[in-house]
Amino acid sequence: MAKKVIEILEEGSGKIFSKITPNEFREHMREKVKNAWRDKRMDIKTAIGQFVHDGDYLTMGGVSFIRLSMVAVHEIIRQKKKNLNLAAGTRTYDFNLLLDAGCVKNIDCGYITGMEIFGIPYVTRKRAERMITSGEMGISEYDNASMAFRHKAAAMGIPFLPIRNMMGADGFKHSAAKKIRCPFTGEEVILVPAIYADVCIIHVHRCDIYGNSQIEGALNEDLGKSKSAKRLIITTERIIDTEEIRLSPDRTLIPCFYVDAVVEIPYGAHPTNMPGMYYVDINHMKEYISAARDQAGLEKYYNKHIFGVEHFKEYLKTIGGKKKLKYLEDLEHLRVR
């Protein structure tokens, strides 16, 4: 019988920044699950020091202003991690802080530098433009759907997924996606490559000491990301007993097999929103945006909130302490408007 080929109709010229294959990932997980039921509690300094390495492909949980692990972002910056490859489907404040601190080497871009409703910080935009144009930062162009499906593909243990968007768009030309004719229906589909990451960090509402994690509200890309990283750091508002997890297993989004570290840190997502707990700190976002009007202002901001403090508890004092946090809780529950 004549050999049949699936023809590639078009392909983008963008680079693939994650080189981990499904089989390599399987071998890794085979070893990793041996530690599934170990007590994984540690502090953020240890977790970032041990599990985030220069040159890693990093995925971060949450999206836009929801559930960003800011405690982890601060520590990555304090430890001066370099040359990170980042999955950037709607990254806002977390990405910006890492970029301006010089931690980022390459990005798979869905949405960068923008602070949504608050606009784009000037210094960050200028830096991104300069780094992209000069080639200092590599970029492949995607969008939130294709990025979400890339994480999902990896979480499924497969090398790619066929999707229905990206056609007729210029982003496709600068991505690593390919267009083929579906061998079953004859219709054209786009294939996007899975992203298996070196390390992922996700902030959750609660988990036990093994990392069985429960999340409330919108889940963003976290189901995909949590299951497709070689190392997973969970930062959590609080640690609860496994018995409590077992009372509501339907709320558990991340079982402990995937988890390497558990870091308990209340308000660890500030100034972003923790659904059901505390709302976005609008004034702090505005402070940040206006600080980022020039490099000097931005440096002052980093010194005050990141380099000038030892840990996140101390940071929380710099933003207004208990009184502010209480206000953000009231705001979340619509007790104040």
Partner: protein, 256 residues
């Protein structure tokens, strides 16, 4: 002028419409519609909120205002899977540039390799504009934004004319539907798929629109005057939807 854009757009949103919403003015318009004539619209937010009853204006596509009293929260792939499945009536988007075929650019100004400005990029826009049945676009009416051909197609409209979307492999029967600006209401002429002026906002002349459009605009035979905002629309928008003027205040300093 943001107020007027949001109000005009909100009137076009029918009750029970399933509508995928981008950040900014689309949120204002949808929230206003939900508080006025369309209490049963189904706003969908890509971070994972389905059919929330927004208590205040969301600050982003993924804050808890996008899941408040929702019928379901889920993850991002599920939201885009719904769009792939044909469940989304409308995608509602902003952008930095738009052209006569409704292609949207939110990626770069100038050549991709050496842009003069780098904007945030697609976000959810590309998938909204590719997969929702109808795309609604909201954008300031300026020559630098209404261009002959966008510098970069972030989100495809009718690309370069009739049949181009289908040829590219996009789902049939989808595409740009209406454009809301601070001067006009526009749609797309059925045969040519080119943008067409169908309404003038209060106090705006045909010349105003032409002078601020960087391509040859079709004009409807039944060009109408869009009624001015009612007192109630303004009141709800200012007092209920965006009392802190988070988006409304942007009108004064918009500077992309």
């Amino acid at each position: 002028m943001i107020e007027l854009m949001a109000i005009v757009a909100s009137r076009e949103i029918e009750d029970r419409a399933i509508i995928y919403i981008g950040t900014g003015i689309p949120m204002l318009a949808a929230s206003l519609a939900q508080n006025m004539h369309a209490p049963n619209i189904v706003p969908v937010f890509e971070a994972g909120g389905i059919a929330p009853q927004m208590p205040t204006l969301p600050l982003s596509v993924g804050c808890s205002r996008t899941t408040y009293r929702a019928i379901r929260t889920c993850d991002m792939p599920e939201i885009f899977e719904m769009a792939q499945l044909g469940i989304a009536h409308y995608g509602f988007l902003g952008g930095a540039q738009v052209d006569q075929y409704g292609n949207i650019n939110s990626t770069v100004k100038g050549r991709y390799e050496a842009p003069t400005v780098r904007w945030p990029g697609s976000g959810g826009a590309n998938a909204f504009g590719s997969l929702c049945w109808r795309t609604m676009i909201i954008i300031n009416h300026e020559k630098r934004r209404f261009v002959e051909k966008v510098d970069f197609i972030t989100t495809p409209g009718y690309i370069d004319g009739p049949g181009a979307r289908e040829k590219a492999g996009l789902p049939p029967g989808t595409g740009p539907y209406k454009v809301f600006t601070d001067k006009a209401l526009l749609d797309f002429e059925e045969k040519t798929k080119r943008m067409r002026l169908i309404g003038l906002l209060p106090g705006v002349t045909l010349d105003d629109v032409m002078e601020n459009t960087g391509f040859e605009l079709l004009i409807s035979d039944t060009l109408k005057k869009v009624p001015p905002p009612t007192k109630e629309e303004l009141k709800v928008l200012r007092e209920k939807v965006d009392p802190h003027r988070i988006v409304l205040s942007r009108g004064d300093k918009e500077s992309q």
